[in-house]
Symmetry: D2
Subunit: 404 residues, 4 copies
């Protein structure tokens, strides 16, 4: 493939070895200006040193942006309004972060007059798809440079040699036998020793959660309040979206909540094992469902539930910025107008379980029927007609079969 | 409503106060022969004394049948092949038992030449629907007598007075402030003090599970083997369906697994709180999903998952014996042909979590690609075309919008 | 069943024999004030004489309202934005009218301080359900009187005798061997001779459409313009919703378009044959789909299409005023924002067929790619990667199966 | 891209200019043995001359197979059991043929010991995807040569020059301003002048159907009998699947039935206009739906209908040989067990309309209720309870909203 011509490029830059090599490699191979962009999505690393590091490795300009509130408010929360979950287990922590990174990266590309963007995702994974689908959404003519699909540095040793040849500092910390991705919603682990799908993931891998065995011996009760499907307060204290999620991460992590081990299906077609810690998100989803239980109409819920696998698939596969996601979000948001109330959960040794729920304004349970007599609302005798007509097609069918 | 004429009736009879009163009431009101039928579905009660009790209360004939293996093999397992769950939480323990009771009841009606059947379910609940839809499936001309919808005994005191007047022995055990239903799959609780949806269910209510706080401090690992989507062995020991479920109940109960508190939507239209203990079923579902992870195709899984809310709704609403359930079961069973393998779970303090899975015969993960070179299976460069074409419609759309 | 107590009632009144008898019967049986309400939905009858007739039969007050524009704008058009169709054939002409009649009837009940409403729909059909679900939506405490389910006048002769005894004039026109319902969207026929499902409906039954055999021998071309999914102009002439539909009825009727013969499933559980004439609606739906073809994203369309059977079922079953319909409408309306363009159809001898479509503002076809080179938009070589990765899961599966 | 090494290849060969050039090009570029394969799917061309032509152009071996019965029985009919239709209009005539061609091509590859296969589909269309997904299903290690994605012969002139240089005879018939694909189910047209989506397709393009204007002035009635969802007889005459479809093509073509003009979404992401003639298939689908109307349960039908867009998408996108299609087919076939009966259609001037349907064995309509009284089957009074309980959730919701 002929190399694309590039004048100025924005690189999604983490400051780690891989994207440092990419930064240098872009300078070397494309001879273009490189703008680096690092987003603070709550990954827990100090981002300040990144500036210096980027310049030292050859960056022409450096962007570092705190996107935590936007991340939770405009990406995590809309997704949680849908109770989205992928293949029954994965809360989409990485999937939902990529579109935001790509969005800001494309804004910077526009500001800086760049004709290209680049990222450090490999050619076998989901993230390349998520980044690039979003890039093209914002500018269908943008040039995308995906070094892992282009270069020959396909082994760890090749990368280290390249780094040495190019004076890129190699971290002295020992490489862990897995890779990980962290933000305010979760941390994920994959690859390395996890590829043995039968072997339990090692305890020392976990970052956000205590081992359930080491979690407190006493359960903790927590109350989470929702307005229109969004969590707004914990134990009576109102918080911003990012603050609230950070708080739930702390509480949930302490109780060992939110560990998931999933052999999942990637968008590129192979299966891959992911291990996840999503302490706050796990609590949030359970609490949200509890408030829906008391405020949401049955048919709304059942119809919505049947669409969640598809909605989650959209996000997993990188279609956050797509008309089909917009369309489905309109439906979900309509369903959330009445989701106002409080959930009460018991947190204990790795598990969050609903023990109560209430709604001042929108409870569909146990209403005060003072305005008219109770038996107008429910008359047991009505059940006979209900059953008789619901069974009519079955009875006719039986008659037909008996006749034969 | 004019009273139906009835000559001989089969009553689903538990031996408790309510169905004892119904038995007498049927004799009194309809002057018909009454055959009682009691099914052993693993509810844990001694069924033998029922015979004597039934005759003492006026039964003309008594059937007591052990249906445990049929229950698990032909009802629970097909449902678990689908990972069925109602409103995200309820494993349908009562819903799946009713059709089997009704089926056997109708067989007895045929054997005994009965023109009517009766049950003790109230006019506000789901069970009346489940019983009667199944009755009509087997005989659309059967007469159904639902005493709770007919009689005036609408308070506990009225019932007790009726029992006293008719020499029906009243149990001396104190009435619990909730009602419950138990079988080999679960025990459910509802009503009474549970109707305060904000108050936690009391610890002394639970029957099948230890409190997580009192569960062992050491996790237990368990391995469950599946063939065509059905569990066949635990920790290497093959068991019959009912034995296996009973075993998992014991193990799961010991670890406090399977408690659920759900405010759910009834088929008759109101919300109702149910608290459930499903220790074995909770383990079984998680294990089944683990084996599917390694053996099931992605598109099969996603399509199937989108239909599970509908399938679960069918069972919850009483449509087990229906052409739509048959149709969906055909699809589900087709999807399970390759679901052969073993799941490894960690049980600890109220939670069952997958930690490993394997499949000798049907793993779709990490194949040995000896027969041809690895890069024919996956070439990273292919991802570019994949992304380019998957984004094509999004890029064209962006072009259209930019043009405007 | 004990008779409900009623002080003042609004009756949906057509002026025909049946609702005239009901009007008198309500006076006789309930001794209440009766307000009649007649809606002009374009049924083509003169409504003015109804006032006198109603008073003559005992009405205390008479409402006659022209609802044609509201009908098409707020009921027909939202439904057509979804391409709703029931069981593949029926365009829901009666189903969509009932909720509007019920809405206005309940407004009148509120204005007039009525405690009850009544309608002339029978106890075997869909319309009773549609009326009453809507009534209860507006006032869950309203008393509903459904004479057909209450009275003993279950034969034509009984009705005529009742009319004679009560001085209700009996129309001299011969009773047709079917019943029908007409509004601006359609006319339906059912019952009588149509119950022989093998016999063709007679030519003299049809009202809105010429026989295709007698339609013009020359095809007519028509252009229909849409804005956000709503038809706004025909052949360049802008019209109000009701005018536009009336115009299409004339044109379509002339060409014999929109006849459908369907054996359908009623919401109450039995099958029933309906024959329909929907000339304008048939043209409208085809034209709407044509404009969607050029303006709507693929995934939006496919997802939407999978939900239309459910949406149509909601309307057919009477759930227009329901949170699930609101939720789905939000999704549909979001999908229609870009549905702007013109369809060209050929009308000929009973059939309307798209022959062209265009969109100035929202075409997703054949864009001018002047701003960047064409091969950036589509490079044939990309197809290889696309196919390779789309087949990956299938190839891995084949490998697994070959290995066995 | 480095050229793959190929020893022996099977080429799907039509005998036309394009595949003749491909045959020669494969010899020239790959220096491999070439086996040609031509399938008779009812495209109406004489296939015998192909043998000589293929050898003359350099083929080493030639296969010509009549697959018409297999095509209709094992591909067309299963698809029609589902009423499959793509984007509301396209009956998938080309989509369903590709998997069969690929299947036989892979059988020949196995017989002949070939390491590669090739086809003449371009890099912008759906057919390359359909061929290659099927190839990989049968042999995931097969090498696929797609000349249109590889070579530089990207204009008509380049092809003709290549033909001249290589002594390939160029047909003297004038090239038509569109391309087409024909088999026993349909003929499709695309490209060329059809790319103006506003211009009507020219009358002289059509092959299988008379113009409706020139069709007989007298309607024709036709009766089609179905067994388990498959058409088995027309007007009382039993025929094999291929004979039956051919017969319906003749009859439907005479009446101008089955023309469709659709701007559709390709699997590779762009929109494309297709014009289709499917005379027999159009009749068959309408007739099948008519028999379903009288024999199929409501819930089965509605559930099935909601899945048809997905099923049709699978076929359109090339996933005929896939586990998800197998799974869905199992469901569809289960739904067809009772679809036994006869449809009566009126064919006239471009349109096929159901006018009657009956089923001796499986009618769910108008049963003889002799065995028990009619009012046990349907009691009008039951409708009140049915409506009351179906509206319960709506009434509770209104109460909640009114309270606010």
């Amino acid at each position: 493939m002929a190399k694309k011509e590039v004048k100025k490029i924005v690189l999604a830059y983490s400051g780690g070895l891989d994207t440092s090599i990419i930064l240098k490699w872009l300078k070397n191979e494309y001879g273009c200006e490189v703008v680096t962009f690092s987003a603070d999505l709550g990954q827990g690393d100090e981002l300040d040193p990144i500036r210096e590091k980027a310049f030292a490795t050859g960056a022409d300009k450096v962007y570092i942006d705190d996107l935590k509130e936007e991340f939770v408010r405009d990406f995590v929360f809309p997704m949680f309004r849908a109770n989205a979950i992928y293949e029954g287990h994965y809360l989409l922590g990485t999937s939902i972060a990529r579109p935001l990174i790509a969005k800001r990266q494309m804004e910077i590309a526009a500001i800086e007059g760049c004709d290209a963007v680049s990222h450090g995702a490999t050619g076998k994974g989901n993230d390349q798809v998520r980044f690039e689908l979003a890039y093209y959404h914002f500018n269908p003519a943008i040039t995308v440079v995906a070094p892992w699909r282009e270069w020959k540095l396909n082994s760890r040793q090749a990368l280290i040699n390249y780094a040495k040849r190019n004076d890129i500092p190699i971290p002295i910390t020992k490489k862990r036998p897995w890779s990980s991705d962290r933000n305010l919603l979760h941390i994920s682990f994959e690859g390395g020793i996890l590829e043995d799908t039968w072997m339990e993931a090692p305890e020392n891998m976990y970052v956000l959660t205590k081992s359930p065995e080491k979690a407190p011996n006493k359960p903790q009760y927590i109350e989470i309040e929702f307005e229109q499907g969004n969590a707004v307060a914990v134990d009576g204290v109102r918080m911003s979206p990012a603050q609230l999620l950070a708080h739930l991460n702390t509480v949930g992590g302490e109780h060992g909540i939110g560990r998931v081990d999933l052999l999942e299906n990637r968008s590129v077609g192979m299966k891959s094992r992911g291990v996840y810690e999503t302490p706050g998100g796990t609590i949030l989803r359970e609490a949200h469902m509890a408030v829906e239980q008391i405020t949401m109409d049955r048919e709304v819920m059942h119809l919505r539930d049947s669409l969640i696998p598809r909605y989650a698939e959209m996000i997993y596969n990188g279609y956050w910025f797509s008309p089909e996601r917009d369309m489905m979000q309109a439906m979900i948001d309509e369903s959330q107008k009445t989701v106002n109330g409080v959930a009460r959960l018991k947190l204990y040794k790795g598990h969050a379980r609903t023990v109560g729920r209430k709604s001042e304004s929108n409870s569909l349970f146990n209403l005060d029927f003072a305005t008219f007599e109770k038996d107008q609302v429910y008359n047991q005798a009505d059940a006979e007609g209900f059953i008789k007509l619901n069974s009519l097609r079955l009875r006719i069918r039986s008659l037909m079969q008996n006749k034969k």
